[in-house]
């Protein structure tokens, strides 16, 4: 297995600060180079290369002769390219980017839309059969990861007794101490971040708390911003006290290294996101893509995902007495891969929802 460690590890493009760009943010190639490879697997994903590389390496080690190319892109970018390729548009819409063999995106609504538009092909295997119904739709889109939406707080600046355990606590906290928290609560800007919109829309479906929550955000002058990494850094440094609806995988990875960061899985309910993988209908190397999905769902693959904090096990965290992750795992609400995800993508619905958001939360962009 070590012979595939002739890995060409090349981050060709540096990380763009803004994900709105059309080009890939980063690219990594594993396995033999183009001349020596028997076949190539082209993957596009929204997951950071740093986080995802171990899994790619694990797959490369069991796939001799396979050249693996992973393009890290923004979710909208992934969707636009796939939709264009599906409609039979030019395969070279973005330079070298042809139709990919595998798409893994955290924008599960967009992935569901691709499947709904008939842009994916089915894959049925013993591994996919182990998936629960909510993370497998039509055997065409699969939830590979298990990442909670969490609240991140600064452990030094928020006394333990004040740490909100649920959304109710957060609302009460913002109401009771508007001064202390004014301008120091952050959440995703749902107009810019697909993930932020996804979480916020899911929140609006889950409970009536949502109206009071965004009202409280508005009153406390919550900051709508972008990008997990920067927000979590700001929390660690004390610029923000609490960040709401952060992706647990990033937060946990950071909290493991940084003791200033505390994480709460809200006890009223915790949204669970599973990054959605699908194989485009016109994939050139669907076989390899299917093998990658099976690998990611197999016990070794799941161990690697767990290690990368892409699969968060509340049971194991509780057993280990983790101080990082706090919260009750009783109310986990997985976001199902189903046509219901299409509602948020409807342009009227989106417009109405964003208007509602804007009217409550004062927009402040902190870059």
């Amino acid at each position: 297995m070590k012979r595939t460690l002739g890995i060409l590890f090349a981050i060709l493009t540096a990380c763009f600060a803004n994900s709105g760009g059309r080009a890939q943010e980063a690219i990594i190639q594993l396995g033999p180079d183009k001349a020596a490879a028997i076949s190539t697997l082209l993957m596009r994903g929204s997951t950071d290369i740093d986080v995802f590389a171990p899994i790619l390496k694990g797959f490369a080690s069991i796939s001799p002769g396979l050249r693996i190319v992973y393009e890290q892109r923004g979710t909208n970018d992934i969707y636009d390219l796939a939709a264009k390729a599906c409609r039979g548009g030019t395969n070279n819409a973005a330079g070298a980017a042809g139709a990919a063999d595998l798409l893994i995106s955290s924008s599960i609504d967009q992935q569901v839309k691709l499947v709904n538009d008939g842009c994916a092909q089915a894959h049925d295997s013993p591994q996919t059969a182990t998936l629960p119904a909510w993370s497998n739709w039509r055997n065409e889109v699969f939830g590979l990861t298990y990442e909670p939406a969490v609240m991140v707080y600064n452990r030094q600046l928020i006394p333990p007794g004040e740490v909100p355990r649920s959304r109710f606590d957060l609302i009460d906290l913002l109401r009771s101490a508007p001064g202390r928290y004014g301008g120091r609560v952050a959440t995703y800007d749902i107009e810019q971040s697909g993930l932020g919109y996804l979480f916020a829309f899911a929140d609006s479906q889950q409970a009536t708390t949502f109206g009071r929550l965004i009202e409280a955000f508005g009153r406390a002058g919550a900051v709508a911003t972008c990008c997990s990494a920067e927000v979590i850094d700001a929390v660690a440094e004390g610029a923000y006290l609490i960040a709401y609806n952060m992706l647990g995988s990033y937060a946990l990875a950071r909290a493991a290294k940084d003791p200033r960061i505390g994480i709460v899985a809200p006890s009223d309910y915790t949204l669970i996101l599973a990054r959605a993988a699908l194989i485009p209908r016109r994939a050139a190397n669907a076989q390899a893509a299917k093998r990658f999905i099976d690998f990611a769902l197999s016990p070794p693959g799941r161990r690697m995902l767990k290690k990368a904090a892409l699969i968060v096990s509340f049971d194991e965290a509780a057993k280990a007495g983790s101080k990082i992750l706090a919260g009750a795992p009783a109310n986990l609400r997985p976001m199902a891969l189903s046509p219901v995800q299409l509602v948020g993508l409807d342009r009227h619905k989106r417009k109405i929802f964003i208007q509602l958001w804007r009217s409550s939360v004062n927009r402040k962009t902190a870059k």
Partner: protein
């Protein structure tokens, strides 16, 4: 004929298989059709429910149509979990407000909900189209809501329903086959019992079978019993014949032998002639006896075996008259015929009847007093009887002996020793074989009459 056509079980199995296959095909078709319709109805309602929910979410806000797509509509559609979903909301101008503008519209325009199937996105889809009317300051008119989904859940449900129906049919078929096997076995069991009863029976035992049999098999048992009764009669007849023959023939043959032995030692020509005279007498008697015995055997045989046909008693009388004239040409006795003008029809065996009548005539000619008459008479009209009667003016048989005179060897006082006493027994046997009887009567003019009385058959075939 091949072997399998002989087995009731195989034929029944083939018939049932045929019924089951035919019924199976019909039921399969019906089940598939029923399943398809049930699934279509169920999922059409789902579609319509979602479309109504979406239609309620359309509003006119700030001079603009706004669709606040309800999540519940999609949760409803997600009840068909494997199906892709499309929707489209249009205004009256045909502009798509939201949704996918490529979704096909219904061909026919209806006020209520219209359902249609069309291919979209490379897959067959079912759509519902419905309208909602608006009368607002900003917009007067309607919106059309189209919701569609793919057919996976429908097919699955249709197949599920059909499969359950088919399972029931298959189970019913298996039960039916089992019941049939059981029914055939139990139906054929009496035959086995009859077979056993027949095999276990003493070869000489011709009594009726004592077997418990169902109604359908009883007919066969009755037939077997009838057959055995006939066999028993014939065996009895045969045994009687043998007994008669041995009994009747022994004495005359011994007498002949004694006379012949006398003749061997006799030298006197006169006495020798007297002996020869006696030998001749004995031989004549023996000859008549043999005739009668054989006649009786023949008549008894025919009465059971011969086919009876429709014959005219007058023909019988005429034939008897001819043959008697021929036989008794030497005697001066006269036979008078007394026949009606119309035919007198009976169902009978002509030969037995002729033989029996001849016996009566011979008796009258031999023992009676002339004139002897042979008459045919019909008594009653439709369901009456017919007589063929012989009358003479002699003393006849004394009235006390009438009941017994039909028995064998019931020799009347008037009969001579050359008579074997079989004549009337033959007549009696023939009468019984034809469902009639032998009747004696003393007529008003003093004549003695012996009649063979048979059931009369109306000439009119109706």
């Amino acid at each position: 004929m091949t072997d399998w056509t002989r087995s009731i079980a195989t034929r029944l199995a083939a018939a049932i298989a045929l019924i089951l296959i035919g019924g199976g095909i019909a039921v399969t078709w019906a089940a598939l059709e029923y399943g398809r319709r049930a699934a279509e109805e169920a999922y059409d309602r789902l579609l319509a429910g979602a479309a109504f929910q979406i239609s309620r979410s359309v509003a006119v806000l700030d001079n603009e149509m706004v669709v606040d797509l309800p999540v519940s509509a999609f949760e409803l559609l997600a009840l068909a979990p494997e199906d892709r979903v499309v929707y489209r909301v249009d205004d009256d101008a045909g502009t798509t407000i939201t949704g996918d503008g490529r979704v096909p519209v219904a061909k026919k325009r209806t006020d209520g909900a219209a359902y249609y199937t069309a291919a979209f996105g490379g897959e067959g889809m079912r759509f519902v189209s419905l309208r909602r009317q608006f009368a607002e300051r900003a917009y007067v008119g309607g919106v059309r809501i189209i919701v569609g989904h793919t057919l996976r859940a429908r097919s699955a449900l249709a197949w599920d329903i059909a499969r359950n129906a088919l399972l029931i049919v298959v189970a019913a078929g298996v039960i039916l086959v089992g019941l049939t096997v059981f029914a055939v076995r139990s139906a054929l069991r009496p035959l086995r019992r009859i077979e056993g009863a027949l095999l276990a029976r003493d070869p000489k035992d011709l009594s009726p079978l004592d077997v418990n049999a169902p109604l359908e098999v009883k007919a066969m048992v009755a037939a077997i019993d009838r057959f055995m009764a006939r066999l028993a009669r014939r065996v009895t007849g045969m045994q009687n014949l043998i007994a008669d023959a041995s009994h009747q023939l022994r004495t005359p043959v011994s007498a002949l032998r004694a006379q012949a032995e006398l003749a061997q030692d006799e030298t006197d020509p006169d006495r020798l002639r007297a002996i020869i005279e006696r030998v001749h007498d004995r031989a004549v008697g023996l000859s008549r006896l043999t005739d009668q015995l054989l006649n009786q055997a023949l008549v008894i045989h025919r009465s059971d075996a011969a086919d009876q046909s429709l014959i005219d008693l007058r023909t019988v009388a005429m034939r008897v008259s001819e043959e008697t004239d021929h036989d008794l040409a030497s005697t001066e006795a006269d036979l008078r015929l007394d026949l009606p003008e119309d035919p007198v029809l009976v169902q009978a065996d002509a030969l037995s009847l002729t033989e029996a009548t001849k016996n009566l005539v011979n008796n009258a000619l031999r023992y009676g007093t002339p004139p002897v008459s042979l008459s045919v008479r019909q008594i009653g009209k439709a369901c009456g009887t017919a007589d063929i009667a012989v009358a003479d003016h002699g003393p006849g048989i004394p009235e006390a002996e009438w009941p017994d005179s039909g028995r064998r060897f019931a020799r009347s006082a008037g009969a001579d020793k050359v008579s074997a006493g079989l004549g009337l027994a033959i007549v009696n046997a023939v009468a019984e074989a034809h469902g009639g009887r032998l009747e004696f009567a003393r007529l008003d003019n003093g004549a003695f009459s012996a009649a063979l009385r048979l059931p009369f058959v109306s000439e009119d075939p109706s």
